[in-house]
């Protein structure tokens, strides 16, 4: 019984991730190519995809290392960019609270924007903790695998990918595909509008901080519009 639920949920996770997994691929290629073009050892740059598993942070850190920034600057930049994961951690926490300990303390390794977005959508209409954790494991692993494989291919392929295709456009489209289904009413729309607006206004701030304050401002705006 439980096994059938798990299998069904895992399949649903892979299915939900599939179109977006393809979009993660170009992002990974962009990162891999950047590693190849930098002064960073390709093995070290590739290992970062296992250690950190977060594209935007890895790209910014790579850039800083290449510019001979101090290690404390490099590490704190990565952590600031990834601070948004604390918000996803909060959003997922009520669901994860019902998972056995070994799941609760290992699954977060796979927590990415994509994994959080598809899981939160699935959790809206799926209450069973068994189905919920298998969905997350399968979906999140799909994204992680795509990230690992594509960053390695990017390192190996080097500049072999034609610029003219502008595959980096797949990144904003992927996030649009994750964003739009979350817009269901006035409050979510307010949160998104203010979140985007503040992120744009915050452009001169260091990388990642504009996203963080945009997100926080968006959440606050959504709460206010609910009154």
């Amino acid at each position: 019984m439980e096994e059938a639920t798990a299998r069904r949920a895992a399949r649903a996770g892979v299915r939900a991730a599939a179109p977006l997994v393809i979009a993660v691929f170009p992002f990974g290629l962009v990162y891999g190519v950047a590693v190849g073009a930098s002064s960073v050892d390709p093995w070290v740059g590739g290992a970062a995809s296992w250690l950190i598993l977060a594209g935007a942070a890895q790209l910014s850190m790579l850039d800083l290392i290449d510019g001979d920034a101090a290690w404390i600057v490099v590490v704190s930049t990565g952590l600031v960019i990834n601070a948004r994961f604390a918000l996803y951690s909060a959003a997922l926490a009520p669901a994860f609270a019902r998972f056995p300990r070994r799941w609760r303390f290992t699954l977060p390794y796979l927590l990415t924007d994509q994994a959080a977005a598809i899981s939160l959508q699935y959790y809206e209409h799926q209450r069973d903790p068994v189905a919920r954790r298998w969905f997350f494991l399968a979906g999140a692993s799909s994204f992680a695998a795509s990230w690992w494989v594509s960053s390695v291919i990017g390192v190996l392929a080097g500049g072999g990918i034609p610029e003219a295709l502008q595959i980096s456009f797949a990144v904003p489209v992927m996030f649009l595909a994750l964003l739009v289904p979350t817009l269901r009413d006035r409050t979510t729309l307010a949160a998104a509008t203010v979140g985007a607006g503040v992120a744009i206004l915050g452009a001169p701030l260091p990388n990642g901080i504009n996203i963080l304050i945009g997100a926080l401002a968006g959440i606050a705006a959504g709460r206010v519009s609910d009154r």
């Binding site: 994961f85 951690s89 489209v173 979350t182 945009g214 926080l216």
Partner: protein, 98 residues
């Protein structure tokens, strides 16, 4: 450096999840706040990756048109696959024509 950032990132991901244990009930105001997290964060990332280019504004109008088409498709059909295809196809069409 990557190891340090990796450990830090894992702790961030774990943060709230590790604090909220079994039997914790979430009050309605907290739940209303939690459901705003995904739209707010994702919208900020879309803005950052689509509208911005480094510190300045992105001047590739083709990206805006293709982005709008992708958003429209996503809104109408709620399908990530269709959204991806529509967005990339529109961009490549525009790049081929202009």
């Amino acid at each position: 450096m990557f190891t340090l950032a990796g450990v830090g990132t894992f702790l961030i991901r774990m943060s709230v999840i590790s604090l909220v244990g079994r039997g914790v009930t979430v009050s309605p105001p907290v739940e209303a706040t939690l459901r705003l997290i995904a739209p707010a964060v994702l919208a900020a990332i879309v803005a950052d990756t689509l509208v911005l280019d480094g510190d300045g504004l992105n001047t590739e109008w083709t990206w805006f048109v293709a982005g709008a088409v992708a958003a429209g498709v996503s809104w109408r059909w709620r399908s990530a696959g269709a959204t991806m295809v529509a967005g990339m196809a529109t961009l490549w069409l525009l790049l081929a024509v202009f």
